[in-house]
């Protein structure tokens, strides 16, 4: 085998390598202190250890995943939700209403939403703007959710639109002028001058991570100075954003129907990789584990009360980035409290499209590894035969 050019993503500037505060002087929470000390024996093939066992000891509450409706997914289709490439706000409102009433079995929108949230809650809407304007969580869905939350008595000041990178939120139109009265927040931040660092040379992102909550994995994150602002810290800990741990009491998850290779990046991926720092190290050997295991930590497990997948526009290839050639109108929404079941249904839809387009002959067994892991962790139901899918065709 040709060895002359092994990939070495950070070899060019190792002398710039920064290992930030993660390595020393941090406050030790039970989760961090109990991080496994042993490295995997065969780094090439063995799976690195993580601290997942420690977090499973935290008692669950009534909101814990899979939430109020384990194994239930509602799919709402509407062929007229996009006309001349414009998403129709009124149609999306109807689709969301149909999804909420069906999922909860309630007769009114207000009662449906109050099943999950109350006016005292601070509600985080976790969107996904990472692929840019072409393939972000649609503003029409976000606005429909906000409108219905208001109908349910939730004041706008109690709503936070959030994601990992504040600058991506801004680039995709999640701006105060478009969402008056609603807080818009990201973990990784730049100031008005475009700098990631404050006057003291400290990353803004560092003040946004909560060192009481960490996903530890025996993989070192080592980044150059240009990458660090996007990772916030290096080392073996990925810290949860304070948006999850301190600022919100409930989370409504609004991912997009996208592929990631032969798999998907939907509810759990949107939560897991959106809620922690130092993610670069986790992609290669722990992608499936991270997607499932991070969702098992209380700041996500106990706060995510509802998942609504934006499948108005999505993609079947080229994801998670946005390649216009592979963007398609799925014309649907998926809703459920069980993120695992919703992801399973989403994977079915994307795989079917990929097979139809002759990208693959059948669903790759590797594609659902994260679902099986999440099922093992008690986060939801991954087996198609145990999921109740209700499909509503509005037009």
């Amino acid at each position: 085998m040709d060895k002359e050019e092994e990939p070495q993503p950070n070899s060019r500037r190792n002398f710039f390598r920064l290992l930030t505060a993660s390595g020393a002087g941090l406050v030790l929470s039970p989760v961090i202190a109990a991080a496994p000390a042993e490295a995997a024996e065969n780094p090439q093939t063995a799976k690195p250890a993580t601290n997942i066992q420690d977090t499973l000891k935290y008692p669950r509450n009534e909101n814990s995943m899979p939430g109020h409706f384990p194994g239930r997914v509602t799919q709402v289709n509407h062929s007229g939700c996009i006309r001349e490439n414009i998403i129709q706000q009124k149609v999306v409102d109807q689709m969301l209403t149909a999804a909420m009433l069906d999922l909860t079995g309630k007769k009114s929108v207000k009662k449906a939403w109050r099943k999950f949230v109350s006016p005292e809650d601070i509600i985080g809407l976790k969107v996904n703007p990472v692929a840019g304007k072409l393939l972000t969580t649609s503003h029409e869905l976000v606005k429909a959710v906000i409108t219905q939350l208001e109908q349910a008595g939730i004041p706008r000041k109690n709503i936070v639109i959030w994601d990992r990178r504040e600058m991506e939120l801004q680039e995709t139109g999640f701006l105060p002028e478009n969402y008056p009265g609603i807080k818009i927040s990201g973990t990784e931040q730049k100031d008005a001058k475009g700098s990631f660092f404050d006057a003291n040379g400290k990353l803004y992102g560092e003040s946004m991570i909560d060192k009481e909550w960490s996903y530890w994995a025996d993989v070192e994150g080592a980044y150059d100075e240009y990458t660090m602002p996007y990772m916030v810290n290096g080392g073996k800990h990925s810290y949860f954003t304070k948006i999850c741990t301190q600022q919100v009491t409930k989370i409504i998850n609004l991912p997009i129907l996208k592929n990631a290779g032969a798999s998907v990046t939907l509810c759990m991926k949107n939560l897991a990789f959106g809620a922690i720092s130092n993610t670069g190290r986790l992609h290669e050997k722990l992608w499936h584990d991270t997607v499932a295991e991070v969702c098992a930590f209380p700041p996500l497990r106990d706060k995510v009360v509802l998942n609504i997948v934006d499948g108005l526009v999505g993609c079947y290839n080229g994801g998670p980035a946005a390649n216009p050639q592979f963007i398609c109108n799925y014309n649907l929404l998926l809703a459920g409290t069980d993120a695992v079941a919703v992801d399973r249904i989403g994977l079915n839809i994307v795989s079917k499209k990929r097979i139809e387009m002759k990208l693959q002959k059948e669903e790759s067994p590797l594609a659902s590894k994260f679902l099986q892991r999440a099922d093992e962790l008690g986060l939801g139901i991954s087996d198609n035969s145990r999921i109740t899918l209700k499909t509503i065709d509005l037009a």
Partner: protein
Amino acid sequence: MQKNLFILLLIWLSLALPQKAISQLLTAELLPGLRIEKESNYDGTSLYGYIDGGSTLYFEYGFDRLTVQEVVFLDQKINIEYFRMKSCKGAFGIYSINTFQCVAKDQQGRIDCENLYQQQLCAGHFYISVVNASGTAAARSASTMLISKLKEVIPAEEGLLLPEQIRDPAAQLTGSVKYIRGELGLQNGLPDFSNYFEGIPNFELWMRQTTSDGKDQKKFLLSFDTAVAMESFVQNAALVPSGNGWKSKEGSSEQWHVEKLGDQKIFVEIK
């Protein structure tokens, strides 16, 4: 002494020439009417800042650096990504798995293709993607002019050497030849093969796909880093011994003929 100086000069040239290529981006001087609205550069792990988890695929192929230009040309907004890889093979590999449904052009020794929204070019160490968001005739025309200029600016180096088992001078490369060197490449370019490589972290795969009498035929050259890895592949694919190699079991939907080319290399034909 002169001989040594000559060798040193050759080494310097071999290092310097690829470096020069990165400066050959499109500019308003090269292409009057071109307006560059934003230009960003990424190298090392900073690619995470641009495409986050998507960057892992590029690392797998030996990513060196990326320049992104957001330009306006003939009133069309267009995004140009210049991925410079550490080898011509890496550049072709990325190109080969990113060109699904991209109509091959492949003329005059160039490797490129186009579809409604995107034009792609593989040239030497570069994989270049030119994307327009509208897909209109005007946007495609503007993109075509950009690609044409890029072909003038970036020479098609002779660095891409296909293994002889995959070579076919009469056939196009785009859409028929793939180069894969890791799990993510498989998932993106050949997902139906992923199972066969479970537990095999290091390998190289060349594939040529042809169609004869309406039937697909595929040829693969597979290289592993150990004999054990090669045996694992044979087991994962449920092959049975046959001659100097293996074949698929009786009754399989695909007929595999596998020739052993050493302890770590095999040639596969699937009909």
